[in-house]
Structure formats: structure tokens, C-alpha cells
Amino acid sequence: MRSRATRRTVLKNAALAFAAGITAPYVRGAYAAGKLTLGCWDHWVPGANSALTKICNEWGEKNKVEVHIDYITSQGEKDKLTAAAEAQAGTGHDIMSHRDWNVQIHQRLLEPLDDVVGQLIKQYGPISPVAEYLAKIKGTWRGVPTAVGSQVKPCQSRFDLYQEHCGIDLRAMFPADESKYDKAKIDTWTWDVYLDSAQKLHKAGFPVGLPMGQTSDAVDWVGALFMSFGAVLIDEKDNIKVNSDETRTVLEYLKKLMAVNPPEVYAWDDAGNNRWIISGKGSGIMNPPSSWAVAKRDNPTVAEKLWTHAMPRGPKGRFVGQLPQFYGLWAFSKNKPAAKDLLLHMSQRESMQELVEASIGYDLPSFKSMYDFPTWKVVGPPVGTVYSYPPRGDEQTSIAAAPARAEVGAQIYNQAINTVMVSKFTQGNEKLDDVIKWAERELEGTLRV
């Protein structure tokens, strides 16, 4: 049978098709508002990824947006490789996790997010200066700071060994309640006292383990130490300042401190210090609570004696290395309004609290107003062990290479110029002046446009 298409039926069908076409966007299907893809940092804490997925899916269902998350490991810098590939190709996820300096690196391809971050600052108050330094470029926010994977690297010490061999009661000095902090006691925790106790602990057969390789754990604690002594590599106006009395003082100090560290610290990667403390051989490291969490699983008797607390104070103050993570929205994303809304949702206090809880307190929001989450107070054993993980009291956050322009800082940090300098002096036994000259030449190279 052949059907005949008359002029009347053609017109009728065309009218129906037109009507369907113009009304379709307003019909709310399961995913009527499109799709969003996220490339997120793969959390090392089991279950932490699920918390983020849950937060995103809840938002997706409510807003009729299909959310798809790819968790990308930072092992072997795979997350950075993926971001670099997407930036070169101009296509990929809508939202991408960016660790440390990656917002700087991809700034030209990242959507301004002033509206999102502005709203968060209005809601939660001042944001971490390190997050601002890394993600606010020429007055524009190019990334939203997140708690996921964000960390500081304070001291994590064996309180029993400090008590026994140095006579220092770390739990009394840094109790699990900020209102009980005694300024007079905390003021005694200085880099000089740290060196003295490190020497005693070395003598007792339990050295501290401070990495001096070229990865972030090493760069971060050395950066904080430099800050405490006022040693600057390059200032904000591109002046090379490494040749200073402060640098000489801090390097001389490090000569003494590194002598009481195990010799293998020069080869440690970011897991080296964790293994050191978990093994029970070490008395202290500078790290987020990841080492405590693994010790809890693998060596509970060590975990029970660990206490996270503030860094020592130097002549210019008390600094701790901070490494925030960000979410960036690629300029080539096709669903920017939805992405911004999701970013805002993910950054709400309730979401942050869920994330911190799922990571057993490892994730650290960039808003000080969120440091009162109960997780840090209640997790253990021992209860209160990570209470002082978020910077409290007079501890300030910092990042190695600051206050240099962030573009310059990215080069200094990633090429680990500070720790190579220290290694040349303390391990290679090169002359102090030669080391400083070498650093000057290297720093000069980081200033090229």
C-alpha cells in the first residue's frame, strides 16, 4: 500500500515538528538541563570520593543535570598531564581539579569565577591568603578553592618520645581545645627548641625525618622554615633576594638540623616521611594526618602516640606550608552557568563538612570559619590527635616561593630550587657562597617571560 502525502498532511506535520522544537527545552526530562563532566583528584582516603560523588549527584538530580565524574590520580602527575592535554586540545571536562600552581599555569584557559568565590567570601568570611595568591590572578579568581585534597603540613610528632627524651609535653602545649591554648607555653616552641630536641631524639635513636628531595613535602616545610627566618628568594617586584643574611642564617641552621636526620631523606619522595613515622623508627615529621591514618591501620601502637601540632616559631613568625586545591572551569565548557552553580553547591559549609568527615580530617577548607568542624576534635586514637591540624593560634599559612609573582613562584616551587640549595650545602658540602650564586643564576632563569 502506498500512502500519499498531501499538501495538507505535510503542513500539519511541519507545524507539529516546529511546535515540538520550540517547546522541548521547557519540558523537564531527567537531564533537561544538560550534562556536566568533572575531572577530580582521586582521593587516597577510601570512601572520600564517594562523598564528593554523592554531593554532586544530589545537586544533579535536583537541577536535572547529568553529572559525570572521572577520578584522576595524582600518582605520576596524571592529573596534571590530563589538564595539560585538555588545555592543548581545547576540549575535555567542564570542571577540572587543579593542584597547587596549576591554576596559574592554565590561567588563560580558565573562566573567571569572581561571582562564585565572591559569594562564598560573603557567606564564610576571609579566605586563605595562600589560596588567594595561587588562584586570584590580576584581580580575577580563576579557581574555586576546595577542601578536597587541600592540606597544610604541620608537625606530626611522637608525644611519648618528646616527653621521654626532651621533656616536652606536646599535648599540654597544643591541647585539643583552642580556648585552652596557653600563649606563654606555645611561644617556647621555636626552631631553636626544635633543633635541640631533634639532636636529643637522634641521640636516643629516634631521629626526626624531614624530607630533602625535590617533591612537595620537602619543598613545603623548607618554604615554611625560610619564611620563619625571613629568607626570601625573589620578592613581588622580581628582585632576586636570595643573597641575604637571612638566607645564610637559615642555611647554617639547616646544616645542623640535617645532620641529625637519617641520611636517606635526600632520596625521599612524599611517602618517605610517612613510612618513617609509621615504622616506629622516627619521632617526628611534617605532614598532613595521612600518615596517622595509615599508621592507625598498619601500626596502631604508633598511631596512638602521634600528635599533630603547630610548626616551630622563627624570628619572623610561625609559618606552616599550605597546598590548597581548586576547581577550575575551562573556558571551552559548554554548560558554564550549571557548572558555576555546582561549584557553589560543592563549596557550601554542609558539603565541606561532609567532605572533611569522609577524609577523616585530611581535607582542609580554605575558610578559617570552617575550622570548627567536629571531625578534628573527635577522631582518634588518641582523641584530639589532629585538632591542631588546621592552623590555629599564631600559625600562619604560607607557600614556598611566595612572595614572588605566582608565575615565577610556580617555576621556583616545581624545580625545588630551595631544597636543591639546601642539599647542595648540607649533603654536597658546597661552599655557602657558591650555593647562593647557583641559586641566583637559577632564580634569574625563572623570571623569563
Binding site: E77, W101, G213, E264, Y266, N414, Q415, E442, R448
Partner: protein, 316 residues
């Protein structure tokens, strides 16, 4: 217009008559060996163009851009690198790494190939299989295994050394021992390739030559120097060239075991390029670093291949 087209057709064939000719032509074309060979190679050509030639040209282009990739700066990245101490250290280290690793791989390959060649045919296959294992395991995996053996704090080797009453060795924390360790792993991984190539070459040396030499009273050493080595010269040269290229461009071993440290003293071109390009976000400078390998390897290739051609002509 139609008339003009018509005038080109011989004898003014109709459209229905043209179809079988076209079909026959296509069939004839497909029947040509060169055409079939080309079609069969096409996937490989596409892979080579897409994954080697295009990226190579793209990296040349990239190396001539500024850090933000917004401006053409000519050869500035290259001149900048030439003025850096660390870069020259990387050049020296790459040369030490590649030359010493290739030398030891060639030596070990030659010795083991001889040993296996002299085994009875029945046992040979077993040994060949076992000795090929390092080459068959994915390099990233075996490097990780080696890293555990050399682990700075809990090295299995050191545990064994201590058990025997010796001092611990700072395998990865001392820069010179670290260089030794990465070279050792490269030799362990690459020697089986030399072994298999040399074994194949040894098998192709005519037995009559050795018999004639034996009748003339030649010693084993004389047979090796005057028969085996000359007969193997070309395969040695090609194997060395191939291994030199692969070793020079090695990334996995150094990245996994030392990541270039301590004090940048184990960086090779590939790891330094990764540090500058991916970790520090200066892709053009990273591309320029990796391109420095090209002229060095090109010169080596020209010399080695010229020798191979010369010997080929002499034999011919």
C-alpha cells in the same frame, strides 16, 4: 559543458558502457602488489603520522613559542637552555647514562649470547625464555620492583648486606650511587634485547668457517676475533644504534626511581623535559629540552649507518 566532457570520452561511450571499464580498472589497480602493500600498511602509516610525525613537528612549533604560548620567539628557548648550568648537567648525565648503559648491555648481551649458543639445543630454549623475562615485563612495573629493592629506608639489598656484616649503601640518596642504580636497572632491562639479536647473528655464521679455522689451528679467541666479530659487525652496529636511541630517551626508570634527584643529579633529557613542561607548566621549554636529543641521535645514526652501508658494499 556536457558536450565538452563528452568529447574527452573515446568514441563517445554511453554511461552504461563506462561502468564495467571503471570496475575493471579498479580491479586491476587492486590486483597490483604495490597497491595491496600500500593498503595493508595504511593503518601503520596513519599511526606513524598521527603519533610520531605530527607530534614531532608540533613539538618543534611549540618549542618556538613563549611560556604562555601566545608569541613566536624563534630559538630563544634553545639559547636560554644553553645558558643554564642544570641543562648542561642534564646533557652530561644523559650521555653518561646512555653510553655506559649501552656499553654494558652490549657486553653482557654478547657474553650471554655466546654462552647460550654453546649450550645443547635442547636446553637453549629454556635459557632463552628465562633470560628474556626482564625485557618482557612492563618497564614501569619492573622499575617499581627495583625501587623497592633500593628503597632509601627499607632497602632489601641493604638488609642483605647488613646480614653479611657489610655497611649499608645509600643506593638512591647519594647522587653517584643513584646514577649507578638507574644505569644498573637499564642494563638489566635492556641486555636481553642484545642477547636475542646477537644470538640470531651467531646462528647465521656459517659453521664451515669455524671448521676451516679449526683445521688451520685457530684458537677460540682467534675464531671470535677473526670470524664471529666481523660477521656480527652490522648487527652489533644496528643494535647499538637502536638501543642508544631508546636509552637516550628513557623516562620510566629515572622518573620512578629518583625523579631526577638528589640535587638534579640523575635527570636525563626526558625527565627534565617533563619537569619543565608538565610540572612547571612551561610546555615550550619542555619541548625544546626534548628536541635537544634529536641532533645528538641524528649524528650518531649517520655515523653508525654509514659504517653499516660501507660494510654492506664491501661484502656485496
Amino acid at each position: 559543458m556536457a558536450d565538452i566532457v563528452q568529447s574527452w570520452l573515446p568514441g563517445g561511450l554511453s554511461e552504461t558502457a563506462k561502468a564495467p571499464i571503471r570496475k575493471r580498472g579498479l580491479r586491476r589497480l587492486m590486483r597490483r602488489h604495490s597497491m595491496i602493500a600500500f593498503l595493508m600498511c595504511l593503518p601503520l602509516i596513519a599511526i606513524v603520522v598521527g603519533l610520531i610525525i605530527y607530534p614531532a613537528f608540533y613539538s618543534i612549533y611549540l618549542s618556538m613559542l613563549n611560556k604562555a604560548q601566545t608569541r613566536f620567539i624563534g630559538l630563544s628557548n634553545f639559547t636560554y637552555l644553553l645558558s643554564r648550568d642544570v641543562f648542561w648537567m642534564v646533557v652530561r648525565q644523559s650521555a653518561i647514562f646512555a653510553l655506559s648503559a649501552v656499553l654494558f648491555k652490549a657486553l653482557i648481551g654478547l657474553i650471554t649470547a655466546h654462552l647460550i649458543n654453546n649450550l645443547p639445543a635442547k636446553g637453549q630454549r629454556k635459557w632463552r625464555g628465562m633470560l628474556l623475562v626482564p625485557w618482557v615485563i612492563p618497564l614501569a612495573l619492573s622499575s617499581l620492583g627495583w625501587w623497592w629493592l633500593f628503597d632509601p629506608t627499607h632497602s632489601a639489598f641493604n638488609w642483605f648486606l647488613q646480614l653479611l656484616g657489610f655497611e649499608e649503601i645509600p643506593w638512591l640518596s647519594d647522587p653517584y650511587w643513584a646514577r649507578f642504580s638507574v644505569i644498573l636497572v637499564n642494563v638489566w632491562y635492556g641486555a636481553p634485547f642484545f642477547l636475542i639479536m646477537y644470538l640470531a647473528a651467531l646462528k647465521s655464521v656459517p659453521e664451515q668457517l669455524y671448521e676451516a679455522a679449526s683445521i688451520d689451528g685457530a684458537s677460540a679467541w682467534q675464531k671470535f676475533v677473526h670470524i664471529t666479530l666481523p660477521m656480527m659487525q652490522n648487527i652489533i652496529a644496528i643494535t647499538v644504534l637502536f638501543s642508544l636511541i631508546v636509552t637516550f630517551a628513557n623516562f620510566d626508570i629515572v622518573q620512578i626511581m629518583t625523579a631526577g634527584g638528589p640535587r638534579n643529579m640523575t635527570h636525563v633529557f626526558a625527565t627534565y623535559s617533563f619537569l619543565l613542561g608538565i610540572r612547571s607548566g612551561d610546555l615550550p621549554l619542555g619541548a625544546a629540552t626534548s628536541l635537544f636529543m634529536f641532533p645528538i641521535l641524528a649524528i650518531a645514526a649517520v655515523f653508525i649507518l654509514r659504517g653499516v652501508r660501507k660494510r654492506g658494499r664491501e661484502i656485496g
